[in-house]
Symmetry: C2
Subunit: 425 residues, 2 copies
């Protein structure tokens, strides 16, 4: 009885990483790690499974988010479990959980996979990976500066030029100070923040009309517009000067394309200070590449004094788009040093012995196992980005003299395996 | 209104990886990768989410496994989804899905996290990571040999000596040939395989009694015992000789502690040829470290001709136990090169500039941000496995002469940052 064939499709909205895609993914992760570690950041991780409560307590909007946009289910022990949609609640939980043992300030990073239950569409997958970098336990604006500097260095680590991206910075503290100056209600502030967050997705007319509807009178409306379009005089607020100081410090550190943008809001309610986004300057890819900010109160949820924090998240799909848009992908991400090709399968053992010798010398080596013509073995070696081959036949074994052939240009070297290894370095 | 504090506990049965544990995890993953790649293996990955059907079609026992031992839920599109409990079905799906494009034989590896819904107990977590190595598309016994060789080299990659572990090999083909010789029913074969699989978990008496109950008569029972205890004469079956040839080839490749063990069965029904397990020889840790075998028919589920395969899985908890049992953990897994300590926070910008210069030279450097005494900064640097510090004060900046102090022995070097970098290499 023949059963119906199973589908080879992956689950909807997630990706299979075949070796070619995996090599790109690893290049991205390695570049992220290397740059974060050059700043002394330490890597952490946690499970994708989290108690659902972790995402519910940040306010009503999050309860809705948990119910409608996450993978949430009840386990057999009646516990409500969620596949993490973001890493910040997890890392806040971990930091709060060991606050007495950890030596603050911490510089921590992670590369978690995150899940969102949404309709799959271009660039909006149900699972993606995200670099998360955070500094915990410092109120210093130098921590804000360092986080933005790190984001910039990461892009440069992928080969980006300073002109390939721009950094736009705002401050939630400044925004709150403005809202207080305007004496608007919490509800109005909430609606207005949401509107500002959507600013670049709607027309100017729509934006203005909506603002007018939200705000109590014409004078506030005018004041709001002059802030958002930066048409007024330099305000005398301390929050404004702190923000300008941060921007000036970044410029002193060589970050030229950084500017104040009052329309940067960031979706999450937990931000308390600086907020920023980095944009691709290429018109073909005009999306925010990454974003983050300061959130000084999140660990309060776990009891005890709040631990100040500033950080950002950077998605794998976004950086891959950026790399491709700017033609920055390295040519050779996968490679094998040597393929050993036994002319008959009876020489396979001899080949495997030679392979072992070469592996001990640090080479990546495989023995071609299939029973086919030498030409086909070579084609396969090329498909695998193999740098050189050694064909093993009766004569070679008898004379203990082998030929290493470089596939790129056909250059040949003859000798014992030991001699060939020495010449290949 | 103060809400009740959220718990900082992780979900039951999963682990948080704080930097210290993460460093160990990365050491394990890196050693796995490095050794697999030295054999020319290429890395792949997939999502943890898989359609539940993938695990149901291997037979009734798997239907039960899916229902009772996995995380399975219905998504909002009425699809049944499972968090992968093992990687083999996923990789079989991927290989079958691109069978026309892939250049066989493939050498593929992956380090997925896997989920089992079970009662948490020592060493039995609900989520663990596992190295999976497979060769697809080769019937050759050299592929079997290479897979076992790789398993052995991986253990050596962690510093294990040949005497620290032993490899026990059996063959499902041989086992099936025996069962046919004994003319037992499929049902009896199934029960007997299950019993053999449990052999080391029950007493010899229990084992013998159960075998007698399963088997049809005394002569078969006697024949079975002589096979399982290896008390009979060398059998004349081709499957036996193939297996002995494989073992002899491994010995020729320098693997001394490998032997035939007729009680090695492996739980999964999909094995068709060689099966093996590697055991720790230390009496304190007498568990199978890893296991695998040949499964030539699994891709058949997806339609088309079956693709032969041989591989193994190796868990992160098991290898960590092995490393700890044999005292093989490297001393320094985390390290930062230099901590810059500004004596006053007004020197932090200067410090960050110096840090940037050092990062460009490949160093891991952080600027100590907290406002505390130099002694406390140094304590913190030590806690972070920092190799050296540079204290930055007014005098140092004015004279452009800094002191690099090695924390291990207090050795000091004076000079400009450029000179110090040169001396630190």
């Amino acid at each position: 009885m023949k059963k119906e064939a199973l589908s080879t499709e992956s689950y909807k909205g997630v990706r299979d990483f075949y070796p070619e895609d995996m090599a790109i993914q690893r290049y991205i992760f390695d570049t992220w790690s290397k740059t974060a570690e050059s700043f002394g950041f330490e890597r952490y991780d946690a499970s994708v499974l989290e108690p659902s409560d972790l995402y519910k307590s940040k306010g009503a909007e999050n309860e809705e988010m948990v119910n409608e946009q996450t993978y949430t289910f009840i386990d057999r022990g009646e516990r409500e479990v969620t596949l993490r949609p973001e890493m910040t609640p997890t890392v806040a939980r971990m930091v709060a959980g060991k606050r007495r043992e950890l030596a603050f300030p911490l510089r921590w990073y992670s590369i978690p996979n995150l899940f969102r239950y949404e309709r799959p569409q271009r660039g909006r997958l149900r699972e993606h990976w995200q670099l998360n970098c955070d500094i915990f336990g410092s109120h210093s604006t130098m921590a804000d500066v360092e986080i933005i500097l790190l984001a910039s260095e990461i892009l440069k680590g992928f080969g980006a030029k300073a002109s390939d991206f721009e950094i736009r910075v705002n401050s939630r503290a400044l925004w709150n100070a403005y809202c207080e100056q305007w004496k608007i209600t919490d509800e109005q502030r909430q609606s207005l923040s949401g509107l500002v967050d959507r600013k670049n997705k709607i027309s100017l007319e729509e934006f203005n009309t909506a603002a007018k509807t939200i705000l109590p009178d014409d004078s506030v409306y005018t004041a709001f517009l002059s802030v958002i379009h930066q048409t007024g005089t330099t305000p005398e607020m301390p929050e404004y000067h702190t923000l300008q100081k941060t921007i000036a410090t970044l410029k002193e550190l060589g970050i030229s394309s950084v500017s104040y943008d009052p329309s940067i809001m960031r979706g999450f309610n937990y931000y308390t200070g600086i907020v920023f986004e980095v944009f691709d300057t290429d018109p073909a890819n005009r999306r925010a590449l990454l974003g983050g900010g300061r959130y000084d109160n999140l660990t309060e949820l776990f009891g005890g004094d709040p631990i100040p924090a500033v950080g950002f998240g950077f998605g794998d799909v976004t950086i891959r788009d950026f790399i491709e848009t700017h033609d920055l992908m390295p040519a050779e991400l996968q490679s094998i040093d040597i393929a050993l090709i036994p002319m008959k399968q009876e020489y396979a053992l001899e080949a495997e012995k030679m392979a072992q010798y070469m592996r001990a010398a640090g080479k990546k080596v495989y023995v071609s196992l299939a029973d086919k013509k030498v030409g086909d073995h070579i084609k396969q070696a090329e498909a695998r980005h193999t740098k050189a081959i050694i064909v093993i036949g009766e004569e070679e074994i008898a004379s203990n003299t082998f030929t290493l052939k470089r596939l790129q240009d056909g250059f040949e070297t003859k000798g014992t395996i030991k001699e060939l290894l020495a010449s290949d370095d």
